[in-house]
Each structure stands twice: as structure tokens, then as C-alpha cells.
């Protein structure tokens, strides 16, 4: 998580949140590409690990690990902590 700066105003918070949403969208695109290549892309290879064809391993457990990695990068590196109360809440 980035610096714990609680002094953002509403406009700054909303633009940070918009950027975070875009990062999340890009992460999705990346994961879809990985999913496609890891599974269909390797389906023709005749490699087996633990009795599993390579595509079945990469396309399932591999995708899961990549998704965990993506979530970690998003939530720990790219997302910013902020106070959720706004400038003029409750008015």
C-alpha cells in the first residue's frame, strides 16, 4: 500500500479511485491473456506434470496463482489508503 496520506480532498480521492479502477481493468485484461495462452496455448504440447497435461496445470492452478499475484500487486502496490469520510459528509 502506498503512503498513508489522509489529507486527500474529495477530488483527489475520486481521481485516485478512478485510476485504481483502470489498473484493475488492465489487470483483468492481463489475466485473460494469460488464461488463454496458459490453457489453449499449451494444449498441443505433450508434457505432463503429476499426471496433469501442462495446459490443465497452467490453465487452472497457474491462473489462480497469477490472479493472487495480481491481487497482491493491486492491493499492496498500486492502491492507496485513504480516509473514506468525505469533505462534507453528513451535511
Amino acid at each position: 500500500m502506498k503512503k498513508n496520506n489522509r489529507a486527500f480532498n474529495d477530488a483527489q480521492k475520486f481521481s485516485l479511485v478512478r485510476r485504481e479502477a483502470i489498473y484493475t481493468g488492465l489487470a483483468l485484461v492481463g489475466l485473460i491473456i494469460f488464461w488463454f495462452v496458459a490453457g489453449f496455448g499449451t494444449a498441443s504440447l505433450d508434457v505432463k506434470i503429476f499426471h496433469l497435461p501442462l495446459w490443465a496445470l497452467l490453465g487452472t492452478v497457474g491462473v489462480w496463482f497469477v490472479a493472487i499475484f495480481i491481487s497482491a500487486i493491486l492491493s499492496r502496490k498500486l492502491f492507496t489508503d485513504m480516509d473514506l469520510e468525505g469533505d462534507d459528509d453528513g451535511k
Binding site: 500500500m1 474529495d10 477530488a11 480521492k13 475520486f14 479511485v17 478512478r18 485504481e20 479502477a21 489498473y23 484493475t24 481493468g25 489487470a27 483483468l28 489475466l31 485473460i32 488464461w35 490453457g39 489453449f40 494444449a43 503429476f50 499426471h51 496433469l52 497435461p53 495446459w55 490443465a56 490453465g59 487452472t60 492452478v61 491462473v63 489462480w64 490472479a67 493472487i68 495480481i70 491481487s71 497482491a72 493491486l74 492491493s75 499492496r76 492502491f79 492507496t80 489508503d81 485513504m82 473514506l84 469520510e85 468525505g86 462534507d88 459528509d89 453528513g90
Partner: protein, 493 residues
């Protein structure tokens, strides 16, 4: 073993679990006495921490079909099914990453308690809010019925008790604890449910491996006897269209499901949200891969084809009975039943909020009617109980094709809410006309194509629904009037 003793051993863990669920809800109600009722009952006062937020989002999202129908299909289709099901690992980080903070910030600005509150404020339309509330209640009732039926069928198949007995045991329990405890109880019980689902998967996997003579043995036999399981298209059993539509139906579009988005209103701080993204993704992947892989390995326990056991839905129940020792069967079925009740509770509380908060309280406020706190409390709990009871009654004589209703409802909710929420919250130009056309038109087109059985390129109707609702949204947004500056100042400061 004596049959009475057998029944007792089977039922004890279940009864204990259901008892704990009700106890949690009574405890929650007791602790929240004196706080703002509407906020505590419908979003738990925005107090959820990261772990509970992750668990309740996953548990509401993972339904009984992920635990019964899904692995049954994996048994039949093979690794292609897991490859397809694993797209669900995106669901948690997407909904929390895209909507989590936006919704939390807005809810605090607007004093919003429901997703419909936010939609009403964004588009300044009571009509749209009413349509949204109606869509929620309608489709949620369908989904809840499917959960009731799925859970009760599993219960009957595994324990030998009647379908009705199962429905009464867990169905009434979930209605009672949701009505009493509200959202906070839903979140806490969901957490217990998610933990029991994972324990159930691990237990079942262990005994399936044991009964099948070990991993090596099962896999070597499968390689010889069932080569189709090792091919992504499963020799034609898994066409590419399924992969494509599943990405939309249970992956990308799930971010707009109101029962998921409302969780963005419910957490305490951003640290919790960040934790939940990670924990949720770990858990949802573990469950998906774990249970579906178990479905494939069940070949080591069941030597025939799915049809020999009465279809794919019977694979998991039969496997539980055959592979597990009797004293653990009761524990093992808590997993799938937990998946069922945690989905029902999450939907039930949102459906109830749609009626009480979005329709009734809003109407009262507009007409300057004073509603006493005691009355709000009574009506909220009564409404939750009544919706639950109504669905319970429908589930007693279940309509056929119940499994289709589940996916139908999923697609309907996504068609109605996807663009309205995504564009509404992130695009300034989005306006009332666009949202109105998109939600009503898209949903009607989706339902009509479902009813007519009309498909394009054999793809699930979600593709038509989501495309039409986008087109309608854009048309409306460019033709209609811009939202007023005051609204835009709140949503895009």
C-alpha cells in the same frame, strides 16, 4: 449400525452448525441494540473488516451449484471444466477493485445504505430506483429458490431423509437468522459458511483419494479409460462458446451484481478492502479448483458414467456417501449446504432492503410520513421473514428447470446493472435516459430472448442482453439531457 443411531450421527453436526448460525444472529441483534437500525440491519453499520468482507463476498457468490452441479460436470467433462470455472478467480478483485472504494465514498457522502440508493442519487429518478428494486426482488427470488431446491435435494440424497425435512432444517434456519440478525449476522455466518466449505472440500478430497487407491492410481486409470478428460474441448463436450460466455456470465459481469456491490458499502476502511481483495481471490480459487478437481477424481470412487448415477447432480452426493465414513458424512454435507444458505442469506437481506429502504421508507419520506424506529425495525424483520417464507413455499413444490432459473437470474441482474453501475459511476455523460433504457430495455430483451430460446452463434443470451443494454445506454446518454451540475459535483468532484 442401528438406523436411529445412524440418523443421529448424520444429523448432529448439521444441527449443531445451524444452532451456531442462529446463536450468532441473536448475539448480533443484542449487540446492535441502540444503534441506527436501518444502517446496522442492512449494511452492518459499515464495520466489516478485511477477513469478514472477503469471506462474505466469496460465500454469497459461491452457490450450491458450484458445489454440486459444477463438480458433477467436471466429472463428465474433465479438466476443461476447471479451466472454465477458474475464471471466477477474477470476481472478487474485480468487484472490490472497481467498485469497492467508489461505492464506499459515495455511500458516506449520500448516507446510502443500498445500491439502489446510489442509483437513485446518480440518475435522480424514483422510477429507475423502483425498477431496480423490482428487478432485484424478482431475480433474487428465482436464485434463492434454486439454492433452496439444490440444498434440499443434496440433503435428501445424502442423508436419506425427505426433501421437505432438509428444506425445513436448513431453509427455516437461514430465514430465521437473516431476519433476526440482518447484514452483520449474514456477514459473520457467511464467514463460518466459507470456512466450512473449505473444510468440506479438503475432507472430501482426502477420502476420495483414499477410496480411489491414491492419486497415482486414479490418474493412471483415467489416462487410459477417459482420455477426453485431458483435452480442453473434451472431444466436443466443451465447445468454445461455453468458455466465452462463462467469462461474461460468472467472470466479468459479476462485478455488477447488487449483492456483491453492496459489500462495498459495508466495510470499515481501505486497509480492510485491500486485504479482502487478496484473501477473497485466494479463497475463491481454492474452492473452485478444489471442488471441481474432486469431481474429476470421483472417478476413482464411481466407476460408471454420470448417467448411471442419475445425472451430474448426483455425482457429489453419491461420492460423499460412498467414500466417507458415516461419522463424517454429516460434517461433509455442511459444506454444500453452507454454500446454499450463505447465498440465500446474502440475497435475502438485499431483497428486503430493496422493499423497505428503497421503496417503503423512500415513499414515506416523500410523503412526510413519520415512521417510528420501532416500526422500521418490525417491518424490516417481518419483510425479510416474509420473502424468505415465500421462497421457502415455492421451493416445497419446485418448478422444473430450476437450474436454468439460477443462471437466467444471474444474466438478468447483470444485464440490468452492469452498464448502469459501471458507466453511471465512472462516466460523466451517463444520464437518466441512458440508464432507464439500458435497465428496462436490456432486461426485457434478455428475458424475451430467453423465453423464445433465441441465440446468436449458440451463445448464452447474456451476450445479447449485455450488448443491447450497452447500445441503449449510449443512445440514451447522447440523446438525453446531461445530469445536473449538483449531482455531477457529488459523483465527480
Amino acid at each position: 449400525m442401528e438406523s436411529n443411531l445412524r440418523s443421529l450421527i448424520l444429523l448432529l453436526p448439521l444441527l449443531a452448525f445451524m444452532g451456531v448460525m442462529v446463536a450468532i444472529s441473536i448475539f448480533v441483534r443484542h449487540k446492535q441494540a441502540g444503534k441506527n437500525f436501518v444502517s446496522s440491519y442492512f449494511v452492518g453499520n459499515r464495520e466489516l473488516g478485511g477477513f469478514v468482507l472477503a469471506m462474505t463476498t466469496v460465500a454469497t457468490y459461491s452457490s450450491v451449484s458450484s458445489f454440486v452441479g459444477g463438480p458433477g460436470m467436471a466429472f463428465q467433462v474433465g479438466f476443461g471444466w476447471i479451466y472454465m470455472a477458474v475464471v471466477q478467480v477474477t470476481a472478487i478483485f474485480l468487484v472490490l477493485g472497481i467498485f469497492g472504494k467508489r461505492v464506499a465514498l459515495l455511500a458516506r457522502k449520500l448516507n446510502a445504505v443500498t445500491v439502489v440508493d446510489i442509483i437513485r442519487a446518480r440518475f435522480q429518478s424514483d422510477f429507475l430506483a423502483a425498477v431496480a428494486a423490482f428487478v432485484i426482488v424478482l431475480f433474487f427470488c428465482g436464485t434463492m429458490t434454486a439454492q433452496f431446491v439444490g440444498g434440499a435435494k443434496l440433503f435428501a440424497a445424502v442423508t436419506g431423509y425427505s426433501y421437505e425435512a432438509g428444506l425445513i432444517l436448513f431453509g427455516l434456519t437461514v430465514v430465521i437468522y437473516t431476519s433476526i440478525g440482518g447484514f452483520r449476522a449474514v456477514a459473520l455466518t457467511d464467514t463460518c459458511c466459507a470456512i466450512m466449505m473449505m473444510i468440506g472440500i479438503v475432507l472430501l478430497l482426502k477420502y476420495v483419494l483414499q477410496a480411489g487407491g491414491g492419486y497415482e492410481n486414479i490418474m493412471t486409470t483415467l489416462e487410459t479409460n477417459n482420455p477426453e478428460l485431458f483435452e480442453p474441448f473434451s472431444f466436443g463436450n466443451m465447445p468454445w462458446t461455453i468458455y466465452f460466455t462463462q467469462w461474461l456470465l460468472v467472470g466479468i459481469c459479476t462485478i455488477a451484481l447488487p449483492q456483491s456491490v453492496v459489500r462495498g458499502i459495508s466495510y470499515k476502511n481501505t486497509q480492510g478492502l485491500h486485504q479482502a481483495m487478496l484473501i477473497g481471490t485466494v479463497v475463491v480459487g481454492f474452492m473452485n479448483i478444489g471442488i471441481n478437481f474432486t469431481g474429476i477424481l470421483a472417478h476413482g470412487v464411481l466407476s460408471g458414467a454420470a448417467a448411471d448415477y442419475g445425472g451430474v447432480d448426483n455425482i457429489i452426493p453419491t461420492t460423499i456417501v460412498r467414500a466417507m465414513p458415516i461419522e463424517l458424512v454429516g460434517l461433509a454435507i455442511i459444506g454444500p449446504l453452507a454454500a446454499s444458505i450463505s447465498t440465500i442469506s446474502g440475497l435475502l437481506i438485499v431483497a428486503s432492503s430493496a422493499i423497505i429502504k428503497d421503496v417503503y421508507l423512500h415513499w414515506a419520506e416523500k410523503n412526510n410520513r413519520v415512521v417510528t424506529p420501532a416500526r422500521v425495525k418490525f417491518l424490516s424483520m417481518a419483510t425479510t421473514a416474509i420473502i424468505g417464507a415465500a421462497v421457502f413455499v415455492i421451493a416445497l413444490t419446485p418448478p422444473s428447470l430450476i437450474w436454468l432459473i439460477n443462471m437466467f437470474a444471474f444474466g438478468g441482474l447483470e444485464t440490468a446493472f452492469f452498464w448502469t453501475l459501471l458507466l453511471g459511476l465512472f462516466w460523466k455523460r451517463a444520464n437518466k435516459l441512458g440508464a432507464m433504457l439500458s435497465m428496462t430495455g436490456g432486461t426485457i430483451i434478455y428475458c424475451a430472448t430467453q423465453a423464445a430460446g433465441f441465440k446468436i452463434m449458440n451463445l448464452h443470451q447474456i451476450t445479447i442482453g449485455i450488448t443491447c443494454s450497452l447500445i441503449l445506454f449510449l443512445i440514451g446518454s447522447y440523446l438525453g439531457k446531461r445530469s445536473d451540475d449538483e449531482t455531477l459535483k457529488i459523483f465527480f468532484p
